[in-house]
Each structure stands twice: as C-alpha cells, then as structure tokens.
Symmetry: C2
C-alpha cells in the first residue's frame, strides 16, 4: 500500500523538532520539550542505533504527520533472540483516513523482521485491537502498569 | 517482605551461566545458549548499564532460582520521560511458595522508581493478572504480537 504522493516514511531528524513534538500530543502528555532536550534525546537514540529506531511519516511540506518507535531488545531466551517493541505510534488528526497508521506499523514490522527479531510486540487499548489485527497482529496477553 | 535466609537478590553475573539458562526454561523456549553466547550477551547488557538491568535471586548454594530483567527506555513523551519494561520473569518450579516472584517484581519496581521512571509496564497472561495486582499493578491495555 503506497503512501499519498509526496509523503515519506523516513528516520526522525533534528529538523523535525516542532512537528514531531506536536504530533505526539495526539497520543499522550508531552509537556515542555525544548529544542535542547530534543537534540540531546535524538543524539542519545542515534548513539544506540541497534536499539532505537525512531521513524516518522512526513507530508508534502516535510511536516511530521505520523510517528513510531521501534525498540530492539536483546534477550537470552529463543537462542539469544531479538524482540522488537513498537512504541509511541501517533497519527495527526487532520491526516486520518490516509492509512498512515497502517503504513507506519507495516514498515516498522518489516524493519524488525529484517533486523532478525523473532517477534514484534506492542500494547494498545481494547478499541485498537481490530486495527492491529488488520496489521497482522494477534492478542497475546495483558498489559499491566504501575505508575509513580 | 524478606527473602528466605541465605537467598539474595542481586545482579546477574557470569558465574550464573548454567542456572540462569536453566531457570529461564520455566518461562519459554531457550534453545542452545553456549557459555560463549552467554558471555557475549552479558557483556552487551553490561556495556549499556542505563538500559539493561538483569537481576536474579540466588539460593543458599548460589544457584539462580528466579530471574527478571528491567529495561529502561528513554522516551520523548512525558517531558523526555523514562519507562521501565519488566521482562522475562521466571521462578524455579521447586522454589514456588517462597514469594520469590513477588520479591523480584517489588525489587525491580523499586529500582525503576529510583531510576526516575514515570511508570513500569509488563505483559502477562490473563491467569497472572491477579498476581500482578497484588504487586500493585493495574490492567492498562492489550498486548498484541506478530511472530516471524
């Protein structure tokens, strides 16, 4: 499934600061993130390129309209297997209906598979189960949380 | 809640190779993990001490009887917040009834809180929800998986 013309799936970059932060506000509390904090965080992620794989979809103007993080964990189980964690998926509200979420999930899943993971996991709210099933995922457990 | 006398909650170390690998077989497929692979993996985890926090409980003989991994992820959301992922909890079948699982979860949760995370999350099967509720966790979503 192709992206709309002029839209690009690509790695997060420093010039995405404003629209990346703005886009994530669709998802949850972001709070104040200065350019300095963003730069430091992006440098941290880029210093661990086997672990953190932050991606975006940008539109014709180059603005971020969807986000997604693929975190690769090295485990001992499954013969020292790799697991991909998909985190922080967000799609701009004004860009709904263009299958950007589907494209983001499919792309991150393909990257995880190419990197040799034996599975990709993510947590979602019950109302999003149907969407992830369309992306080829299956219900496999319960997410539990403890907040501080 | 104290551990049984002579039992210790501590970081995973190289000399745990055999009993660590054996203990994880309670949980899932481990497959063949040579001492060389284990050494390489432990070195990798130890080279990323802000990220990987592999812990064990050992018994009087020094054998691993419970395992747990705390993975700390740096996010942008929540003002560049930290999230703790609890992974690969296993308790030896012959050591059940000593609250080792409870001790492991409580200890990893405390470490995550000390490290400044805003939440700790984990995935479990429906039959373990009650156990994690006793550990102070709440149901917060659905785990979805895609296996390769």
């Amino acid at each position: 499934m192709a992206l709309p013309e002029g839209y690009t799936f690509r790695k997060l970059q420093l010039s995405d600061y404003e629209t990346y932060v703005e886009n994530l506000k669709v998802l949850t509390t972001v709070g104040e993130v200065s350019l300095e904090s963003f730069t430091e965080l992006l440098n941290h992620w880029q210093s661990l390129p086997e672990l953190y794989h932050p991606y975006v979809i940008s539109n014709v103007e180059g603005s971020v309209v969807a986000t997604g993080m693929l975190l690769i964990e090295r485990k001992l189980i499954h013969e020292c297997g790799l697991v991909g964690h998909i985190e922080d998926i967000s799609v701009s509200k004004v860009e709904q209906g263009k299958k950007l979420g589907y494209h983001m999930i499919s792309s991150l899943t393909s990257i995880a598979q190419e990197l040799g993971t034996y599975k990709v996991i993510l947590d979602c709210s019950p109302e999003n189960v149907g969407f992830y099933e369309k992306c080829g995922f299956k219900n496999s457990g319960i997410e539990m949380v403890r907040r501080f």
